[in-house]
């Protein structure tokens, strides 16, 4: 079987996912097209060589509906022979796009793909595309549905992470992100977003709050306590599933959960031949990719079984991995990952994560893989693993090796 390589990774800065966020004025199609064009331009790509654009996007409705991937291709400067595929594996969509592309290359279906994603959370609100698992009583009851925030609080309760633990983690994320920006660690992948006349719209992640203190966070109310304990009482559902828990400890809030932001990213993936043909140098080899279904109620523990699965498949152990990107959907998700594998924090999310930087759902997977690769190159690490927890109880992971 052929190998699949990463040739380039880019991402937009992440704009606040609100009406006053800097990227709010730009449509999802336009931001996607800009990112595609940037990738083309800086690699001097002959886009007719691209087999497909696989685009992760979660809320596929309105401007993000109607196969956004193909729309983005048509708005960009790409050849019309490039197809487009919108995919949704919730928060792992961006990583899943990469995995799909890599696996097609490995199987010989084409030599080059662009994989990535976009999410304009300020324009297409999260959840506005509906979801049977939340409202269809038969499914909601069968799967003991609770919202993600409750699920994160269940993780904190089950695995004994206190409010102080999650808040301390969040402060560290802010610190690391600020440090990474100050030292220009993100520079390699960041594409400043400009308007059609070349005027700057956004050139830096704008969700960060580097000055946040533990006291600031301690003042925030837990976000999911009311819906858990009172209306409509999701904790009761949680206790049906986990009857050994007396009470759910509600610890998560806006300050220790991932931020709502706008953003897009893309990765150029190709076979060895593609590099030879174009003269581009492969930066990393995609060693393995995996996905898994896990308990849908606690929902966000997928990174653990999917990491076990991918390590087994790659015939590697956790200690073979030099650094990790574990998406910071909620602080407890990453704390649980480090606890389960006994991995020290110095190897995980070394440049911060979604708590500080934000989590543009469909784009995050490809963003964190890009961040991982940049860091591996900067510090000369051989193996890296990126993983994300996924709604409805799933996980996705990718292992890459520096070329």
């Amino acid at each position: 079987m052929a190998d699949a390589y990463i040739y380039d990774t880019i991402r937009s800065p992440r704009g606040k996912g609100r009406a006053d966020g800097s990227l709010h004025e730009m449509s999802s199609v336009k931001l996607s097209a800009n990112i595609l064009n940037a990738l083309k331009n800086r690699n001097d790509l002959d886009t007719s060589l691209i087999e497909d654009v696989i685009w992760g996007n979660v809320t596929q409705i309105g401007e993000q509906g109607g196969c956004l991937a193909r729309s983005a291709v048509l708005l960009s400067d790409y050849d019309e022979t490039v197809a487009g595929l919108s995919i949704n594996r919730f928060c792992a969509s961006g990583l899943e796009a990469i995995n799909l592309a890599a696996n097609q290359i490995k199987a010989g279906a084409g030599n080059a793909y662009i994989a990535g994603g976009v999410e304009m959370m300020s324009r297409v609100p999260m959840g506005s595309d509906g979801a049977a698992i939340a409202v269809d009583p038969e499914l909601a009851m069968k799967s003991y549905f609770v919202p993600q925030g409750i699920a994160a609080d269940i993780i904190a309760t089950e695995y004994s992470f206190s409010r102080k633990d999650v808040d301390t983690y969040a402060i560290e994320s802010q610190k690391r992100a600020a440090m990474a920006w100050s030292k220009n660690y993100f520079q390699k992948s960041i594409i400043p977003i400009v308007d059609s006349s070349g005027l700057s719209i956004l050139d830096k992640d704008e969700h960060m709050r580097p000055n946040t203190t533990i006291t600031d966070l301690a003042a925030l109310n837990a976000s999911f306590q009311e819906m858990g304990e009172n209306m409509p009482g999701f904790d009761n559902v949680a206790k049906l599933k986990y009857p050994h828990l007396e009470k759910i400890n509600h610890v998560h809030h806006a300050g220790n959960s991932s931020g709502i932001v706008d953003g897009s990213s893309a990765i150029l993936i190709g076979s060895k031949e593609f590099g030879v043909q174009t003269g581009l140098r492969p930066r990393a080899r995609i060693v393995a990719s995996e996905k898994i279904g896990s308990d849908p109620t606690i929902m966000l523990t997928g990174p653990i079984p999917v990491t076990e699965k991918i390590l087994k498949k790659a015939n590697m152990s956790i200690d073979d991995i030099d650094i990790f990107e574990v998406n910071e959907a909620f602080a407890a998700v990453v704390l649980r990952f480090m606890q389960a594998f006994n991995v020290e924090h110095s190897r995980v999310n070394v440049n911060g994560g979604a708590i500080a930087l934000g989590h543009p759902l469909g784009a995050t997977g490809s963003m964190i893989l890009g961040t991982l690769l940049d860091e591996m190159e900067r510090t000369d690490k051989q193996f890296g693993l990126a993983t994300l927890c996924v709604a409805s109880g799933m996980g996705a992971a990718t292992i890459i090796e520096l070329s």
């Binding site: 506005s128 509906g130 009583p137 909601a140 549905f145 009482g233 206790k239």
Partner: protein, 726 residues
């Protein structure tokens, strides 16, 4: 004679009057459906007919569906059930849909005939669903009028179009009270909730109905869902507002019902799926969920215990047949404490004159003021009227003088739970009452035949065991002593029916029936604490079993020192026969720690300064550390269910229970024992006798002889039989 009568007056208004022959209450049978269909078609085919009034010739409109029809359907082979039930429900939908469209044809522009529902008295279930298919609903504003869809309370949901129509009429939030709570509404609240359109004086019901028909505009005869641009009130499930409602509704219902009630699930799904499709498709979906529900054995058991058998007991099926029915006019109550005042309250409300006796005037008066505060609470909750309160209080006379008992026809002794105190007041009362007067003792633990020792009239000495709080608990255990005669049983039963509670009759044995099962349930939970099982798992497993309170909460409520005293007293009474119970040691520890339960503001739970229950006390887990391999929730559930069910079986074997009917209804009403399963015997059937025997085998080895297989179950498993024959 048919169930619905057709007539047409001089103004060409058709009346379809429901009047089931030979019954005091209209209920819908298969024949009744045919009769209704014939009448509806006749009216719609009559070109001269101006409109239709649907009403009843009886005091009430209807009690609902004849549940015996459903039960006989469910008792047959399952393949027939699905086909037959689906066809029956769809036929009903067709009849009501024809009535609702009322001859309207949009192509020929033929207008609909106005159809009005004019009801007084009770209208439940299918009775109300017939109303919902009409264009206009009027109800008589009288105290007798109660309108609703109580199906959910007996394990069903409204599948005669009621779910589909109400969701579209009122939206998810508006309909949920009526559908999910099964509340029966007064005429006024039925109107304000939107279930009906108009209320009027009883005498004007027909006039108003006719007026409406003569004045109805065409648009009033077209249901909103049959009009263009119809929108679900409050939003359909994928409308932003509706989305939030439905997310919350599933969680709320799931959390409250612990997932053990199939009717709630079916109702929710029929409602949700129905809102996503056109009306007629929604009716089909409603029927499919109904058929699925009817196929669930839990449904049969619920109808059986909560409706068929409870109704039979309420009607006095356990009465000795040769004894004439009696009515209690005046009674004496000895002891004006919590139980005595509760009994005074329910009796006075049932129009019985009460002499309330205690050792001092002050105590007796205190009892009466307790009655007053229960009545005031009732007024606050609009259960009781001011007039009812005044009348009830007037019927209660407080005194310390036992000679006032000379002309009562029943005495209930409700003094402190201590044999010598009870003996003393028995003698005091018997000095004055006539030989015919039945003397009842309200006790939960003391054997009746022992208490009867001091009586000069043992044949009229009986146990009447009320549950606390008396005003809320609907079960009453009647205990026959060794010498109690049938006439006394008849008297006690008639009295209990008079106060509108459900009686079960049991024979005398330690703890009778209810407490005999409740105590092992509590002890099993307490034991588990000693085994190092996570207390939350114990409590939550009980809830997952559909028990209203976990064993640790229950013992906190009933008090831990009482349980300890009962254990000591039982040990004393049984002597060598007493089996050391592992829970004894734990109870003793709790007593030493002064954690006596809610009354001490400390027990297996912590309480705040206002006495509100907080989290579980972790002190017990310091004394008995949590074991590393916790049992599965299934195992904990099985232990808690089986320990109750085995005790019920032993009560039956030993003749304490004379009937499984009383065992199941008594368990559900007495301590909320697994209503979804139809009670403990129903649960044994649902699990299957053979699997239960296997469970006993395993548990008796692992956990002790209390799980030994009762011979009755062993025999049943050998003959492959069940408690109920469905």
């Amino acid at each position: 004679m048919s169930d619905f009568n057709y007539s047409k007056d001089k103004d060409n208004i058709v009346s379809i009057k429901w009047d089931v022959n030979g019954k005091s209450m209209n209920v819908l049978t298969l024949d009744g459906m045919e009769s209704l269909k014939t009448c509806v078609n006749k009216a719609l085919n009559d070109k001269t007919a101006k409109g239709i009034i649907i009403s009843s010739s009886k005091k009430d409109f209807a009690g609902g569906m004849d549940l015996n029809v459903l039960q006989s359907m469910m008792a047959g082979p399952k393949t027939n059930l699905s086909k037959l039930a689906f066809k029956t429900i769809m036929d009903m939908h067709d009849i009501l849909r024809v009535l609702e469209l009322a001859g309207r044809n949009s192509e020929t522009k033929n207008p609909a005939k106005p159809v009005v529902w004019a009801a007084s008295g009770l209208s439940a279930g299918i009775g109300t669903e017939i109303g919902l298919a009409c264009h206009h609903r009027i109800a008589a504003d009288s105290p007798r009028t109660k309108i609703g869809l109580p199906e959910i309370l007996v394990g069903l949901f409204p599948f005669g179009g009621g779910t589909t129509r109400l969701m579209r009429m009122l939206g998810a939030i508006g309909a949920s009270n009526i559908l999910l709570e099964g509340k029966m509404l007064s005429a006024k609240s039925a109107k304000s909730s939107g279930l009906i359109d108009e209320i009027c004086d009883q005498s004007e019901l027909e006039i108003k109905a006719r007026e409406w028909i003569l004045s109805a505009s065409q648009s009033e005869t077209i249901k909103p869902w049959d009009q263009k641009g119809f929108k679900i009130p409050g939003g359909a499930p994928y409308h932003p507002a509706g989305f939030l409602t439905f997310v919350g509704a599933s969680a709320m219902v799931h959390g409250r019902t612990k997932g053990v009630y199939p009717a709630h699930k079916s109702l929710m799904s029929a409602a949700y799926e129905g809102l996503l499709v056109p009306f007629d498709t929604a009716l089909k979906i409603e029927a499919r969920w109904a058929v699925k529900l009817l196929n669930n054995p839990s449904t049969f058991n619920m109808i059986n215990s909560l409706f068929v058998n409870k109704t039979a007991l309420d009607k006095g099926i356990a009465r000795p047949k040769h004894i004439d029915e009696t009515k209690t006019k005046k009674m004496g109550i000895l002891g004006a404490g919590m139980m005595g005042s509760g009994i005074a309250y329910v009796s006075a409300l049932a129009k019985i004159d009460v002499i309330l006796i205690d050792s001092t005037d002050e105590k007796a008066l205190q009892g009466k003021s307790q009655v007053k505060s229960i009545l005031e609470e009732g007024i606050k909750r609009r259960k009781t009227t001011q007039a009812q309160m005044e009348a009830a209080l007037q019927r209660i006379t407080t005194t310390t003088d036992y000679s006032t008992l000379k002309d009562v026809d029943l005495v209930i002794e409700a003094v402190f739970e201590n044999a010598s105190v009870k003996n003393e007041v028995t003698k005091l009362a018997e000095a004055h009452i006539s030989k015919k007067t039945v003397f009842a003792t309200n006790t939960s633990t003391l054997p009746i035949s022992d208490l009867a020792q001091v009586s000069k009239n043992k044949s009229n000495f009986i146990g009447i065991h009320f549950f606390s709080p008396v005003n809320k608990m609907n079960l009453v255990e009647i205990i026959k002593g060794k010498n109690t005669e049938d006439s006394a049983v008849g008297k006690a039963l008639d009295y209990v029916r008079q106060i509108k509670k459900t009686p079960i009759v049991v024979n005398d044995a330690r703890f009778f029936y209810a407490n005999r099962c409740i105590i092992p349930y509590i002890n099993e939970g307490v034991r588990m604490v000693g085994e190092g099982i996570e207390p939350a798992l114990i409590e939550n497993s009980a809830k997952l079993l559909g028990m209203p309170v976990g064993p640790l909460q229950l013992i906190d409520e009933t008090s831990i020192d009482l349980a300890n005293q009962i254990a000591i007293a039982t040990k004393k009474a049984l002597g060598d026969k007493y089996e050391e119970d592992a829970s004894d040691e734990i109870l003793l520890f709790m007593v030493k720690e002064k954690r006596l339960g809610r009354k001490a503001n400390a027990g297996f739970y912590n309480y705040d300064e206002k006495g509100r229950r907080q989290n579980l006390w972790r002190g017990s887990t310091h004394k008995w550390p949590l074991k590393s391999d916790q049992p599965s929730v299934e195992e904990v559930k099985n232990r808690l269910a089986l320990i109750q069910a085995l005790e019920a079986v032993r009560a039956l074997e030993q003749g304490v229970l004379m009937n499984i009917r009383e065992g199941d209804v008594g368990a559900i009403l007495g301590w909320g024992c697994m209503p979804w399963a139809g009670g403990p015997f129903g649960w044994l059937d649902l699990v299957g006798i053979e699997p239960v025997v296997q469970m006993c085998k395993k548990f008796s080895v692992d956990l002790g002889s209390r799980f030994n297989i009762p011979p009755m179950l062993k025999q049943m498993s050998e003959t492959n039989s069940k408690f109920y024959s469905n």
